[in-house]
């Protein structure tokens, strides 16, 4: 436990020292949302936005963009770097399993995601007048499970990519695909029906986040919230399990 604790402290320090990870992983979604919120028309509730404001309908998507950067960009690249540079190999000569270092990285990623999420929710509420999540516990559960599924995909990429270059390429591809299929580039009500239905299956589950945040009726794509949570949980466990099986230390 001491070692995992120390490792998590060390990984947190390393995360905070890298300005790119802090700016893009933690601050970016809030900056994006506040930037769009600076346009008055986007703050006004309107019928064509499903009765809420644009920023309210789109806020979960901003969050998803940030979560995707942490889970699908930073994690696979960090893990592949550790492997390629022999950080994991070095650690495997000590009494501590290198898995402890990966576990601590995932903990740091979760911490960063929680901070990013709080920033988005609180700044949307304080600055843009977007209500706080209507079902806070469920929202938190959806958030954690959805992020877990994203992390699983990121870890799978780190597991199968033999080189850092390949990991970076796959990570970028996964990010773009997940963000497009997840329907984050536009508010849910503007998306084609097929994409809305698909996005319920794509981590982190933007329609589920929207459902539990604002309860906007058009968002769910027809699926009950608990089913959407279950989909993310199954994804997280299945993909995460595959990643753990396939992971190579060197």
């Amino acid at each position: 436990m001491t070692a995992l604790h120390r490792l998590t402290v060390a990984e947190t320090r390393l995360f905070l020292r890298d300005p790119v990870s802090v700016i893009f992983g933690v601050l970016f979604p809030t900056a994006l949302l506040l930037g769009l919120g600076a346009i008055p028309a986007l703050r006004e509730p309107a019928d064509e936005f499903g009765g809420v404001s644009f920023v309210e309908a789109w806020a979960p998507a901003a969050l998803a963009l940030g979560l995707g950067i942490i889970a699908l960009q930073q994690i696979p690249v960090a893990m592949a770097t550790y492997r390629e540079r022999g950080v994991l190999r070095r650690m495997s000569t000590t009494p501590v399993h290198p898995g402890a270092m990966l576990a601590s990285q995932l903990l740091v990623a979760l911490g960063a995601a929680v901070v990013a999420g709080l920033l988005v929710v609180l700044s949307a509420w304080a600055v843009l007048g977007v209500p706080l999540p209507q079902q806070p516990l469920l929202f938190a559960a959806v958030f954690v499970v959805g992020f877990g599924a994203l992390l699983a995909v990121g870890t799978l990429i780190a597991a199968v990519a033999a080189t850092l270059r390949l990991a970076t390429g796959l990570a970028t591809l996964a990010y773009v695909v997940a963000m497009f299929a997840g329907g984050v580039f536009l508010p849910q009500f503007l998306l084609p029906d097929a994409l809305v239905r698909l996005s319920a299956y794509v981590p982190p589950g933007v329609p589920t986040l929207l459902d539990t945040w604002s309860g906007a009726p058009a968002a769910a794509g027809g699926l009950p919230v608990m089913l959407q949570v279950a989909i993310m949980a199954v994804l997280a466990v299945a993909v995460g399990g595959a990643a753990a099986k396939l992971f190579r230390w060197e």
Partner: protein, 301 residues
């Protein structure tokens, strides 16, 4: 007392045989060298020793432990410095030290280690800003942080400048003097000759010779070479008639005489008798380099 026993070690990767029947023992307090060209199987041998790889066949004993079965205990007591393993770029020296100390049951005094390795004034420097020599010294420090009985150092001075190499050598001797048995993997002759009490010369996965550095040299003969530039032409016969001389060769204006015994004395007195002065006189003993080439049939690095 033998700290490490390796008997008939074999390891193949696919169709490549990396280690083919390697046996040796290392005594307590020794600096034991595993010397050989790149790809000879040196690293695989120490990876098996430290439990990083599982050998196909053979017996391994380190501190009375089996590296396959007692990996956890072995890692507490064997410190390893690996080639091509780095630390995270933005981690500072002191942070790495504290982190690695937390992995061990009986951690060494981190401050004292940093002092000893000359890294005390770098403790708040991030890894990416360290020089090659400093990174290498930190790697040694981390290999010693668990107060190990055995330290395995793999290609310690590759990529270091001459001064940093000498400093690192002094350090290795210092570590041995503090009671740590050292297994040193290297492809540098000068390093092995300077540091090692005994050397296993490894080539193509086999131990081709195992002896002290002087013993290895003696195995290939005690020939010497005398080089000089004569002030006047010298007839070969003048030199080849001497019992100590085996061979005379001319390289441009230079003469190279090969032989045994008190060769230098014999050659210079013969020249003096004929009033020839030997300019730029140089004597070469057989070196470990020569022994290496003779024993492996290869050029060294």
């Amino acid at each position: 007392m033998d700290i490490i026993e390796v008997t008939h070690l074999h390891k193949t990767y696919g169709t490549t045989t990396a280690v083919d029947d390697v046996s040796f023992t290392v005594g307590a307090g020794e600096i034991f060298g595993i010397l050989g060209p790149n790809g000879a199987g040196k690293t695989t041998t120490v990876e098996c020793l430290t439990g990083l790889r599982t050998p196909d066949r053979g017996e391994l004993r380190v501190l009375g432990l089996d590296p396959r079965r007692d990996r956890g205990e072995l890692r507490q007591r064997v410190g390893v410095q690996l080639q091509e393993s780095r630390l995270p770029d933005r981690q500072t020296v002191a942070e790495a030290m504290e982190l690695y100390r937390s992995f061990y049951r009986r951690p060494a005094d981190g401050e004292q280690l940093l002092e000893m390795l000359g890294l005390a004034d770098k403790r708040h420097t991030q890894y990416r800003k360290l020089s090659g020599g400093q990174k290498q010294r930190l790697a040694i420090a981390l290999a010693l942080v668990g107060s190990p009985a055995v330290a395995v150092l793999d290609e310690l001075t590759t990529g270091l400048d001459p001064q940093a190499r000498r400093d690192t050598w002094d350090l290795v001797e210092h570590v041995r003097d503090s009671g740590v048995t050292i297994v040193l993997v290297t492809h540098f002759m000068d390093e092995a000759e300077r540091l090692c009490d005994r050397i296993a010369l490894v080539d193509s996965g086999r131990v081709v010779a195992l002896d002290t550095p002087a013993g290895l040299v003696a195995q290939v003969g005690t020939q010497q070479r005398v080089h000089f530039r004569p002030s006047a032409p010298v007839a070969d016969a003048l030199l080849t008639d001497l019992p100590e001389v085996a061979d005379v060769q001319h390289h441009g204006p230079r003469v190279v005489v090969t032989g045994t015994g008190d060769l230098l004395q014999a050659v210079t007195s013969a020249l003096a008798r004929h009033h020839v002065v030997a300019h730029d006189l140089r004597v070469e003993q057989t070196s470990l380099d020569d022994a290496f080439v003779t024993l492996t049939g290869r050029r060294s690095a």
